[in-house]
């Protein structure tokens, strides 16, 4: 038996070997290198080891704090809104007597196929001072003076949150929809017979059944929001006054806009890794199966 096991597993290992080698070379090796880099500091090509000084520096760096604050703000406000919207839309699309299902589904998923940069540029022009948003609001007499959306710290954040919600809601909706279609209709039937209202069914059947998917989308959305870059760079470029700057943009600035300090930039990258890990763990603890 032993010989046979060895032979077949050898063939298996051969198939796995090449991809593994490539992953090791192009994924894990850079990770380790950047981790080593995060203990160095300097300018451009002149580096020296500074121990954990870079990590200590994070705590006194006002720009980093601002970036973390902005990113967490997006996370706390945007992710719940987006996931809840996705859930509602998926539920509506899953109603058996809805007509033109295919059309709605395509329409809502469509933003996901647009390029990040091009939709960001569109949002920027919609919310410029003489953009469509202001024209519509003034012609409807909701506002008298055009709002300088992207020049006000609060409104600029609102625009960013609106943009990412528009782009990603459909993406999450697809996950929910496919999961909902896997729920056995007889469960709902039984609930109806027992006299549960539609809303009651949604909260006590649909949501609990979707728990693993909800957890999955929450983690990938958290991860995606923490790495937010394209939208902010193109819509506000971090402004006004750094009030929309994200951690990723700060890493970019440290490497390419400021006097290059790749060591410190690597440290900030690892700060994201730590934050993502902690948040994912937290979500797993709160939402995961209790065993």
């Amino acid at each position: 038996m032993g010989g046979k096991w060895n032979k077949s597993s050898l063939i298996g290992w051969q198939f796995v070997a090449l991809p593994s080698a490539l992953i090791l070379l192009f994924s894990f090796y850079p990770m380790i290198q950047s981790f080593i880099l995060s203990f160095q500091s300097g300018k451009g090509s002149v580096y020296s080891y500074v121990g954990i000084d870079n990590y200590i520096r994070l705590f006194s760096d006002p720009m980093f704090k601002q970036a973390v604050l902005n990113t967490l703000l997006y996370l706390i406000i945007q992710v719940p809104i987006m996931l809840f919207l996705g859930l509602i839309i998926a539920h509506l699309l899953n109603m058996p007597n809805l007509r033109f299902k295919g059309f709605y589904r395509t329409a809502i998923f469509l933003p996901c196929v647009t390029s990040l940069v091009s939709y960001a540029v569109l949002f920027k022009s919609i919310f410029s001072l003489d953009g469509i948003a202001n024209q519509m609001l003034t012609s409807l007499h909701i506002i008298n003076e055009p709002i300088a959306w992207l020049m006000d710290p609060i409104w600029a954040r609102v625009v960013i949150i609106a943009a990412i919600t528009w782009r990603w809601t459909g993406y999450n909706m697809i996950f929910y929809l496919s999961a909902m279609q896997n729920i056995d209709p007889s469960i709902y039937e039984a609930a109806s017979i027992d006299g549960a209202s539609k809303i009651r069914q949604f909260f006590t059947i649909t949501i609990p059944m979707l728990k693993p998917i909800l957890l999955f989308t929450a983690i990938i959305s958290t991860n995606g929001t923490l790495q937010l870059f394209d939208e902010v760079v193109n819509i506000t470029n971090g402004g006004p006054g750094n009030s929309t700057m994200t951690i990723s943009q700060y890493i970019y600035n440290l490497s390419f806009q400021y006097t290059p300090n790749f060591g410190y930039a690597a440290t900030v990258s690892y700060a994201i890794v730590i934050i993502v890990a902690v948040l994912a763990l937290l979500q797993l603890k709160v939402g995961g199966e209790k065993r």
Partner: protein, 434 residues
């Protein structure tokens, strides 16, 4: 049998992969080292605008080929941010293969590059007669008494204005000659009242205006020894006072980006634009506004050292140390962009580019008048102003300092105590740069 087959597959796959890597390497080698021994001598240059700095290289190549028929220049065009990213990553990784011989550098990056990547850029100190260039351009290239490149285009600023709007508001050209910013604001209020047009644009997320104001007073965001220059700096205080005054007066149309900024004067929304000489091309894009524009000297700060001239942007040519054709590249730049009046005349006539080479200023090309600008000899005016632009050290941390300022700017515009705000900015900058 199966085992042999799968092994074979594996081996062939690995082989092709390795072969691909290998051939790649050979390619980049061949591209870089070029055949310096044989007849053709090829130099590679990176630039970011084929109709401007790329075109300038083409002119220079033509001029140089007259005496060196074997000389050949390969110009690689890419977006400026791409170029800077590529250069940064290449230099930081220490891999110099694939880098060109000549590279275009944005002036605020000069000191940053030279300090962050020592022994990477070739020295030009004795290769070019720098006394023939505007002093402030040479100052920007000088680090520890060594000059690291050839000055290229300049961004000497002027006050572009719509003669028709100003006339309608009751102002003549003489009213705009050598004014202060406070006078500018007063004129703006009248223009706004009589024509309904904004005087200028304002973008709180862009440092162009504050940079122009600071340099016109001979100051910058950071000191020559790379410390924050926000506290106890009368030029900075005056700059932010003027900036707030413009914002408060309501004469400026808020814009959020470059295209909105250009759109504001192309569509006739604003009466004036304070910008670098290179803005001429964008202004002239609005063909229907021909004959309705003129240029006056930049308004000045109301302080002792304020002058009616400043600078916005500009770039220089660098040669990389250690490439095979370093000496040839230096000679090429020194004889053309670094010392040929003919080059600058052609560059101006063909591409509207203004350099800082003083002997060219007295040439015919520079004294031409422009129909678009109401028959004004705009280039000779701009070059005249360029000789009085105060020289400043751009230092290493310009971008960091600008971001520190940007952080506090909304508070300043909302009327916070300026001294306190400046102290905050200084503190922010010091925490940021370690």
């Amino acid at each position: 049998m199966k085992k042999v087959l799968s092994l074979l597959l594996l081996v062939s796959l690995t082989a092709t992969l390795l072969a691909a890597c290998g051939s790649n390497k050979n390619d980049s080698n061949a591209g870089n080292t070029s055949d310096s021994g044989s007849a053709k001598q090829k130099v590679v240059a990176w630039a970011w605008d084929p109709s401007f700095n790329g075109a300038a290289l083409k002119i220079a190549e033509e001029l140089y080929q007259r005496e060196n028929p074997n000389f050949e220049l390969e110009i690689v065009d890419m977006a400026r941010t791409d170029l800077e990213q590529k250069l940064n990553t290449n230099l930081a990784s220490g891999v110099k293969k694939g880098l060109p011989d000549i590279i275009l550098v944005n002036d605020p990056n000069i000191q940053k590059y030279v300090t962050a990547y020592p022994n990477t850029f070739a020295e030009f100190t004795d290769k070019v007669d720098f006394s023939q260039f505007s002093q402030y351009k040479v100052d920007a290239l000088t680090i520890d008494n060594k000059v690291y490149g050839v000055p290229f285009d300049i961004g000497v600023t002027g006050l572009f204005y719509r003669t028709d709007y100003l006339e309608q508001a009751g102002f003549t050209a003489a009213d705009l000659e050598n004014i202060t910013w406070d006078e500018y604001i007063e004129i703006g209020k009248v223009v706004k009242e009589k024509t309904g047009k904004y005087m200028s644009t304002i973008n709180p997320n862009d440092e162009a205006l504050t940079s122009v104001l600071l340099q016109s007073g001979g100051s910058w965001y950071i000191t020559p020894d790379n410390k924050g220059n926000f506290v106890n700096n009368p030029v900075m205080t005056e700059t932010l006072r003027v900036y707030k005054a413009i914002s408060d007066s309501g004469i400026a149309k808020p814009v959020t980006g470059w295209s909105e900024f250009v759109g504001s004067f192309n569509s006739g929304d604003v009466a004036t634009v304070v910008s670098g000489v290179w803005q001429i091309a964008s202004i002239m894009d609005a063909k229907d506004q021909s004959g309705k524009w003129a240029v006056a000297p930049t308004p000045k700060l109301n302080i002792e050292q304020g002058v009616n001239a400043s600078n916005e942007g500009g770039s220089s040519w660098f040669v990389l140390e250690g490439t095979a054709n370093k000496d040839l590249a230096i000679d090429f730049l020194a004889k053309t962009i670094g010392g040929s009046s003919e080059f600058y005349e052609r560059f101006l006539t063909e591409n509207g580019g203004v350099g800082s080479f003083i002997p060219a200023f007295s040439s015919e090309a520079y004294s031409q008048t422009s129909e678009f600008f109401s028959g004004q000899a705009i280039y000779s005016d701009f070059t005249k102003w360029s000789t009085v632009v105060p020289g400043i050290s751009l230092g290493m941390y310009t971008q960091e300092a600008k971001d520190a300022l940007k952080n506090e700017l909304p508070n300043i515009l909302n009327g916070s105590d300026l001294t306190q705000s400046l102290a905050n900015i200084q503190k922010h900058f010091e925490q940021q740069v370690q």
